[in-house]
């Protein structure tokens, strides 16, 4: 990688152009404004405050300090041993006058957000600690890292704040975690630039699928690009132009217009059908009405997945019945008779409660989703009441996340019946929401028939299913090569669930990345799927593909895939068959590449 700086010879250049060279990971050209993400564990950003916001930020920081101390007190109270002396050190750090003073000074002098100031100041200390010769003393930087983490957590109120993304955003980061990537794809960003992450990294696979121009291999990218910089990402050559002169911008705009696909969007068919006439229902995964309305324009019918936990994130705690009712009613009004499937809170215990500061070893296998709300029934009952009320004369449906056993459904149903009775007794208007179960745990796949009998519909969550079935954490770059959506075990599981649905006449909706991918959606058709739910961004391309393949052809290829002995075999087959059968639809670049495993 090389960096060349040259003076800008345009007439009124605000800054000189910088050109960064790296590698291409997803083709296309993106023009927009940089938003830098910092941190690996927490991805956050720098905000420049207005003069009148500074004091508010100081207050916010002090409140976070109090919250962090309070949380620390809660976990240190019972222990009186070694561990409490470690926590004592951390407690003193949270009270440290020079630390607090330095952070507040930085907020005031640089007019930056508290997160940024905390990070800057603690980084300076960490540098000093790491320079210490004595190993034992040196190790104390871990405590400071911990304290910084606590402060950051407190500033967020314990849950992730959402990213400040707009339709002009180009995201800049050291690397992008797939979970952050999913959030990015739910928005409407233009491109990605990172320091690391390989061609096969999950985030870039997603970027390619969504046609998001991306470049990587930019050393020290966060020092080269600042939030607010104007960027051109040339994903074809792996080059980023930072603050390019206007003339160059125009050239790129023209180039961008030339390579973007010819508009086929002028007239949308009323029904989306495959070449041989199988009708497909496309829904959108959306938590907002704006997103939904955009999807509707693209032909989507209703919301297939409304992630209610975003309310918990926004409200920094579980929302009240009233708040939930208002939100659900609002979205139901917008969606109308096409309907919305609201998934009950899908969050883990450490996200949900402050006192669970001590992290679960395996949160993905821990107390989360349906387990969490059944263990804390009041949360579930509140949500059910809000959903029952919101469904009055409206098409609101309930989806239960992370079902692993029929018993969970039976218990949920019992609670729903009880709450229904109680609301009726109070003469409160309620509706009749349909009940669905997420199939995303392998045990639920094997029990799909029994589960189908108990519910009105099934939702196949392919992201989690792949993770659980193949025992692969998709956020873990080390095992990226083991995350194989085309693994025959995944395909057979999907088929099994679709068949169970058909047998008991219960609709099966496939949500998750698989349905939003132009390649995988063909395979889903081949497996017999008729309902797909995906992000707004994915709809145009998936629709384009769906309407140009026949279910029969897809079925023939899928049949062969189901007989494959390994993921590699299946991937190679997809690459060869798709390219041969539909060369006009699939560029070789966008098809699975051979991997080492």
């Amino acid at each position: 990688m090389a960096i060349t700086r040259k003076n800008n010879k345009e007439k009124n250049p605000p800054t000189a152009e910088t050109i960064l060279k790296g590698r291409s990971v997803s083709k296309g050209i993106a023009i927009g404004e940089a938003v830098c993400l910092y941190g690996v564990k927490r991805q956050f950003y720098r905000i420049k405050l207005k003069n009148n916001e500074v004091e508010r930020e100081i207050k916010r920081f002090r409140a976070a300090l109090r919250l962090a101390r309070l949380r620390l007190k809660k976990i240190s109270a019972p222990a009186q041993s070694n561990s409490s002396s470690i926590l004592d050190v951390q407690f003193l750090m949270l009270e440290d006058p020079s630390l607090i003073n330095k952070i507040e000074t930085l907020i005031r002098s640089q007019k930056v957000n508290a997160e940024w100031a905390v990070k800057e100041v603690s980084d300076k200390y960490l540098e000093a600690y790491k320079a210490i010769q004595d190993d034992y003393l040196k190790e104390r930087y871990i405590d400071l890292e911990d304290v910084t983490e606590r402060l950051m957590g407190a500033l967020e109120g314990g849950v992730h704040s959402s990213l400040p993304l707009s339709d002009k955003t180009i995201v800049i980061a050291k690397e992008i975690k797939p979970s952050t990537m999913v959030e990015i794809l739910n928005g409407d960003v233009k491109g990605l630039v990172t320091e690391s992450g390989g061609w096969t990294s999950h985030s870039f696979i997603l970027a390619r699928e969504h046609g998001l121009p991306s470049a990587t291999g930019m050393k020290n990218v966060l020092r080269q690009i600042k939030t607010g910089d104007t960027l051109v990402v040339d994903g074809n050559n792996g080059i980023v132009h930072v603050n390019p002169p206007e003339k160059k911008m125009k050239e790129f705009s023209a180039l961008q217009a030339a390579i973007s696909k010819p508009g086929q969007r002028s007239k949308l068919p009323q029904k989306i059908k495959t070449l041989d006439g199988r009708e497909m229902i496309i829904r959108v995964n959306s938590d907002t009405a704006i997103n939904y309305l955009e999807a509707k324009k693209l032909g989507a019918k209703g919301i297939g997945l409304f992630r209610s936990e975003f309310l918990a994130n926004r409200e920094r705690g579980f929302p009240t019945e009233k708040t939930q009712l208002r939100e659900y009613t609002h979205i139901a009004n917008e969606v109308g008779k096409d309907g919305v499937c609201i998934r009950t809170f899908d969050i883990g215990v450490s996200q949900a409660f402050d006192e669970f500061e001590e992290k679960e070893k395996n949160p993905a296998l821990g107390l989360r989703a349906i387990r969490l709300v059944l263990a804390n029934e009041n949360i579930f009952r509140t949500q059910i009441r809000a959903l029952l009320r919101a469904s009055y004369k409206k098409d609101v449906n309930i989806v239960l996340p992370m079902i692993s056993d029929v018993a969970e459904i039976l218990r949920a149903k019992k609670i729903i019946v009880e709450e229904r009775k109680a609301l009726r007794a109070k003469k409160i208007n309620i509706g009749k929401p349909k009940l669905g179960a997420m199939i995303e745990v392998p045990s639920a796949v094997l029990m799909a028939a029994e589960i189908a009998v108990e519910v009105d519909f099934l939702s196949l969550g392919t992201n989690d299913l792949v993770q659980y079935l193949l025992a692969v954490d998709r956020d873990n770059e080390n095992v990226a090569d083991w995350f194989r959506t085309l693994h025959p075990a995944v395909l057979r599981s999907v088929k099994y669930v679709l068949e169970a649905g058909r047998k008991y006449k219960k609709p099966v909706m496939v949500c998750g990345e698989m349905s939003g991918s132009p390649v995988y959606c063909v395979i889903l058709i081949g497996l017999g799927a008729t309902e797909l739910s995906m992000s707004v961004k994915a709809i145009p391309r998936v629709t384009e593909v769906l309407t140009q393949v026949s279910a029969k052809d897809a079925g023939a290829i899928t049949k062969k895939l189901l007989g494959c002995r390994s993921a590699s075999e299946a991937e190679a087959m997809v690459r060869a068959e798709f390219h041969c059968k539909w060369p006009h639809l699939f560029d070789l670049e966008a098809l699975p590449k051979p991997r080492s495993i």
Binding site: L92, D96, P97, S98, L99, D134, Y136, L137
Partner: protein, 90 residues
Amino acid sequence: MLEDKVLIVNQLGLHARAAAQLVHLANSFKSNIKLQRSDNRGVADAKSILSVLTLAATKGTELLIAVEGPDEKSALAAIKDIFQKGFGEV
């Protein structure tokens, strides 16, 4: 202002737990308490755990204590005492 010198005698030096003890003690006085390495390689505010830890004071390090304030006499005595007793580890 009062000043005096102390030597770190405990095996682990001014490590986390010892530093915490020191900061707690310093906080119980009104006076300003400064610690300076005799080799001039660092100064710390005894009420700030982070600055005490950055002293990186291992066994055998000599520190200069400087105390100024209304209760400086008792503060200096108490601080000296805790160092001499090796933070209860000797």
